[in-house]
């Protein structure tokens, strides 16, 4: 450890601030790919659709299986390593979402491996359509008999905010219309061409779990996503424009969908579940030496419309209780100050299951910083903020991406 790091601890601040260069900054995302996405993918299961995304991400980077010496793909890590015959390789045991990308970046930065394949996919998992999707339903003894599923869990968070701060359904509907219109325009979105939507269209859709109408909610679909991370040095030899990991962290308050999802859930720290992601964002901004006003594009996770409002407050883009008004007036739409979830997100682009759609927030952040988006490209975007999770699930993960490092 360098002297600067010790000095940082003495000052009682985040010691990462005193490090000359954060280890994440030596890692770049050099490959991104989505598989086909659809409501149902005939002829695929979760493994085959994941392998489709893997083939595409290798093609994106020009790398072959033997160039990969780390695999981070949840249940597919073992099969991918075996069938690629790239062992012995590093393997992550985490769920494929932002934390697994940070795990992979940490493994690369600490020399455990140099090039990691991240992947996840889902197909043929949701077949009982009279029930909500299997990954949305808790089995815990304190919620199972009360008909809880993700929409109801997140609704309990949203209703509390509406009570405290006067947030109204029109605020929520404006978020949903904005994101759905991004998907409407996107040729690869599952709900491409389904719009355009006005906030009134959202409010006219049937109620699912008050305050969420059907069009305030994520949809369900099938698909896969894959990414490749490598060192800054190796990235120089690859054909793609590297996108750097500027910072990232996670806030968890416990297991998802087992206990009452209370806005005010907290321990002695006083840090509340309602603002899950705030402390992860503060750490991420410190690593990146940036703040909210430096963010060019907000690839926020959108399981439900209210979650976008909550995240703008949690991450410090606006004050507590101000999120509803903050997102109005075109601020989060195309050409606005903080364009949000520009591919249509889980509401319109795709929502494959328990994890794949969380990777897709990072896919889109990288695509924006490459300047490669076919639709809703933010001109000259240099910094993207990506997120996963939500207060209804008691966690939020945050990641900052950049075209340059500090």
């Amino acid at each position: 450890m360098g002297g600067g790091r010790v000095a940082g601890r003495v000052r009682g601040r985040l010691d990462i601030e005193a490090v000359a260069r954060h280890p994440f900054h030596d890692v770049a995302i050099v490959g991104i790919a989505n598989s086909d996405q659809a409501r149902m993918l005939d002829g695929h299961d979760s493994t085959t659709i994941t392998f489709q995304a893997v083939h595409r991400v290798l093609a994106d980077t020009g790398l072959g299986p033997s160039d990969i010496d780390g695999v981070a793909a949840g249940p597919f890590s073992g099969p991918l390593t075996y069938y690629m015959r790239n062992g012995p390789s590093w393997r992550s045991h985490m769920v494929p979402s932002i934390p697994i990308i940070l795990d992979a970046a940490s493994a690369i930065a600490t020399g455990q491996c140099h090039t990691v394949l991240v992947a996840h996919g889902s197909a043929g998992v949701y077949t009982e359509r009279t029930s909500t999707a299997p990954w949305t339903r808790p089995a815990n003894e304190f919620v199972v008999a009360y008909g809880m599923f993700t929409a109801a869990e997140f609704a309990l968070i949203a209703q509390r905010h509406m009570h405290m701060h006067g947030t109204i359904p029109e605020h929520l509907a404006t978020v949903a219309a904005t994101i759905r219109n991004n998907g409407h325009a996107h040729p690869d979105a599952v709900y491409h061409g389904r719009g355009p939507f006005t906030p009134d269209d959202i409010l006219a859709s049937r109620m699912v779990a008050d305050p969420f109408h059907l069009l305030d909610c994520a949809m369900t679909s099938e698909g896969a996503c894959a990414l490749i991370l490598t060192t800054r040095e190796r990235a120089r030899d690859l054909p793609t424009k590297p996108v750097y990991i500027l910072g990232g962290a996670s806030d968890s308050f416990g297991p998802s969908y087992q206990h009452p999802p209370a806005w005010d859930l907290a321990g002695p720290s006083g840090r509340i579940n309602g603002y899950a992601g705030r402390w992860a964002a503060q750490k991420s901004f410190a690593m990146a030496e940036l703040g909210p006003t430096d963010v060019d594009v907000c690839e926020f996770y959108d399981p439900f419309s209210f979650e976008i409002i909550r995240q703008f407050e949690a991450y410090g883009f606006c004050g507590e209780g101000e999120g509803g008004e903050f997102i109005m007036g075109g601020r989060i739409g195309p050409g606005g100050q903080f364009p949000v979830t520009t591919d249509g997100g889980t509401m319109s682009f795709s929502h494959g299951g328990a994890a794949v759609q969380q990777l897709q927030r990072v896919f889109r952040g990288v695509e924006q910083l490459r300047g490669a988006c076919a639709t809703s490209q933010v001109p000259g975007a240099q910094v993207a903020m990506c997120s996963n999770g939500g207060a209804g699930a008691l966690f939020t993960d945050v990641m900052l991406l950049g075209t340059e490092t500090p």
Partner: protein, 140 residues
């Protein structure tokens, strides 16, 4: 006429008690809304847990709540989790007067009457030989 919320019918998925939650479910069967209090620091722990959420001690005792409290947050559900559930149903987080949260469904109440701050009390509904389920209903 406004619909009055009812308890769910048998056939819904039922809780499976654990070693440390069994006294809670035993309490429900005899009409006692039980909760845990720490013998070391005095903090309340709920849902039933293997350790105190105030100091992480395992020295926990069971006490009986008044079962009364007020609605902290709510949602009226119109799309059932599975066909086993009858809609509409209302999920509430209630702040019990002793100071802990409990999630349950609200019954014996017009569907459009629920609001944050509403006074409620616990009511028990037997769903099987093993499980009697706590619900909330309006206190007045």
């Amino acid at each position: 006429m406004t619909e009055i919320l009812q308890p769910q019918s048998p056939g819904i998925p039922l809780p499976v008690p654990t070693l440390y939650s069994q006294p809670y479910w035993d309490g429900c069967k005899v009409g006692e809304p039980r909760y845990q209090r720490c013998r070391d620091c005095g903090a309340i722990t709920m849902d039933p847990a293997p350790a105190c959420s105030g100091c992480f001690s395992t020295n926990l005792d069971w006490e009986v709540s008044t079962g009364q409290g007020e609605v902290y947050s709510w949602t009226t559900v119109w799309r059932p989790q599975t066909p086993a559930f009858t809609v509409p149903y209302v999920a509430v987080i209630v702040t019990l007067d002793e100071g802990f949260w409990l999630l349950a469904n609200l019954i014996n109440c017009p569907v459009d009457a629920v609001h944050v701050g509403m006074r409620v009390k616990t009511v028990f509904v037997e769903l099987s030989e093993e499980i009697t389920l706590p619900y909330f209903e309006p206190a007045e």
